[in-house]
Symmetry: C2
Subunit: 411 residues, 2 copies
């Protein structure tokens, strides 16, 4: 087609386009946002005529202490935008370090997304816009970017779980070159409460992290399997027959149908599907499992239930519990009392996993549980690797933990 | 984990959660929206304190004629919400027919998404919330739902295009049972200007349509390949190394890099990848190609360039052009003058494709081009099937065309 014709079709398309999209193209109210400036300051712009207050909140701002019904808590900071010409409100941040950031606006106290930014992540029931800042090749922002490197494929795959008596959906990353390769090791990567099989590829940037680490030779080519850890869900919200429900932290409680098995009980269904349908290297030293928060708890449970199956185990801000008195008793006390779990952990460490990795943020509300686990492991002389970071129970940490863990496995 | 512990972790997670998500869980300002009522009316709710006007726009409203710089045009209707208690504005629609609907709000003239609805589609640079209404099993709304039927897998796949000198991303749907099956026919399903390899699985609900049609025996199990039709893009916005740019209708013009080949020239790269890496039945009668708008133009070009390769050809609201005087000359006049294209079409119809299908809406701005094509085909005695629907150049029509076309192929 020649160029003139292309433009005539273009005009026609415009006419056939919803008013909102037309405004986006022609209306002088249309703004660019966020604008990442050359000095890595970031400018937010929003057209908000008649507004009396416009704010932005996000993890690029220092968190603040706020009194809540549960005590003094860290919450993301809030900054006010200033009104300029034509109803456009703006704010330019200070220089931001390399990172993937999330934000949303509040206009007259009404929370809303940035209408100029189509890049959106969902975290449980919240939607947030995202942007990435990077200073140089190889920094954490660059690791989260889609770079000009070979890319792995990402598939949403339905598998059969006879244990849970349902078909279930998971996300499978196969590395660049998989079509011609063979015998790939497998990382099982688990999400937290409120998450699902989409979480690690959206909030977690797992495909970008793996693409970039593998391309630079820092991680081995591997398959990454991201199942759904909510035992009475088949899939992410909107992706199974329950319809377009509002997500919540407690997918496995909300539906009031008691799951017929736990994550660790049903985990062999996942391994069986992967090892039957992908070009997989089998055996302990070709399998890794890790997860965040609830998924860290799942990792703890799975690795001790199948002590000879995983060569690499990663607990990211893990939610840990084994006993019936979990709320009253410290995790250390639970471990000291539970002979069955002690036996399982003894078997696990007797099988000499190459890596038992624990990562947590200094202000994470699960810090003490993980300190309790370390105390127990230390007493038993079980070897583990520990990483402590700033901050709390946040994706920024989990992306760093995946980046770190992925470089340590299958080597 | 016991239930008490689960709730204690839940509370902890809450504390570690961004303020916005906390509000979503505890704040009395939190509303449900949209609520699909038992009688298939739909109630929109939004917390908009201090607003003086709240409107909703979307394709569930009758379109209205509006004077634009290009003349009188159809645009989606707008309805006002009414303020109730506590800053919550609401509107209940009349009874809606079975369909997937898109909408967004305007608060004090500022366009925004529904903060209570996490289900979002992107159409070029616009984001819109969606909901589905269905009256009974098998209606068009039900066809767009994820039902309790076997599901196909959807993969984002990188392939090599030597013709375009780049790696490119496409979406591949493999039907339920693919792991154990063999010899699947392939439908190549092409998007329009402003779209990309994500469009048919998001706006087009292609995976749901195919899952549901295959489960009910109305369509044959098939692989559906949805490539990217923008010749100087590797992938959808945000999914390749150009970064998080603002999408536009003219991906292939914006980047100012002249594509080295056209869609039809480079199409064999796609077929080669699919037929090398999937369990595919080869040959003309196992290949179908169809597309909407620009993708309908691509379908026209591909099918005549490779006259013996496709048994089923579908033009959905096709953008048609062959000549250098496309803007001045009718498509009929172009066809009548162009001996090369006449020869290609003669070869195509001499190969006896089982189906040459044309669908368009009565008010589509490309109606005349398609009438011109039909006039030419009629004169030549080339057989085709024609479907004319209400409405214009809209996804509602393209989903219906895919539903119709998919039931007619590989039979």
């Amino acid at each position: 087609m020649n160029k003139k014709y292309i433009y005539s079709v273009f005009l026609g398309l415009l006419l056939a386009t919803p008013l909102k999209a037309q405004q986006a193209l022609f209306n002088s109210n249309q703004v660019s946002s966020p604008v990442i400036n050359d000095d890595n300051t970031v400018t937010f712009n929003i057209y908000a005529p008649k507004a009396s207050k416009v704010e932005v909140t996000g993890d690029f701002l220092a968190s603040q202490k706020v009194q809540t019904p549960f005590g003094l808590q860290d919450v993301p900071g809030v900054a006010e935008l200033k009104e300029g010409k034509g109803g456009i409100w703006s704010l330019t941040t200070g220089k931001l370090g390399p990172e993937l950031y999330s934000y949303s606006f509040k206009v007259n106290d009404m929370p809303m997304l940035d209408p100029a930014n189509v890049y959106i992540n969902r975290d449980v029931a919240s939607t947030m816009n995202i942007f990435i800042v990077s200073e140089r090749k190889g920094d954490q922002g660059d690791l989260y970017r889609v770079n000009e490197v070979p890319h792995g494929n990402v598939a949403k795959v339905w598998y059969d779980s006879p244990t849970l008596k349902m078909k279930r959906r998971m996300t499978v990353y196969t590395p660049a070159g998989y079509e011609k390769g063979r015998n790939y090791p497998v990382l099982y990567l688990l999400h937290g409460a409120g998450g699902d099989e989409d979480a690690w590829t959206t909030l977690g940037r797992a495909a970008q992290i793996l693409d970039n680490l593998i391309a630079s030779g820092k991680a081995k080519p591997m398959i990454v399997v991201m199942p759904n850890g909510n035992m009475d869900c088949q899939a992410a919200p909107g992706e199974w027959s329950r319809g377009m429900y509002t997500p919540s932290f407690m997918a496995s409680v909300d539906f009031k149908s008691k799951p017929v098995a736990t994550m660790d009980e049903s985990f062999p269904d996942i391994i069986k599907y992967i090892e039957s349908n992908y070009k997989v290297a089998k055996g302990q030293m070709n399998r890794a499992v890790c997860g965040l928060s609830m998924g860290g708890g799942h990792t703890f449970a799975i690795s001790k239930r199948y002590p000879k199956e995983f060569g690499y185990i990663g607990l990211f801000s893990a939610g840990l519990s084994i006993g019936r008195n979990a709320v009253k008793e410290s995790f250390y006390d639970q471990l000291k009392k539970d002979k069955k779990v002690q036996g399982q952990l003894a078997s696990l460490f007797a099988a000499h996993p190459k890596l038992y990795w624990i990562g947590i943020g200094k202000t994470d509300f699960l810090y003490q549980q993980n300190a309790d686990l370390r105390k127990f492991l230390d007493e038993k002389g079980y070897k583990y690797t520990y990483m402590e970071t700033e901050g709390g129970h946040i994706w920024r940490n989990w992306r760093v933990y995946l980046t770190t863990f992925a470089q340590k496995i299958f080597k």
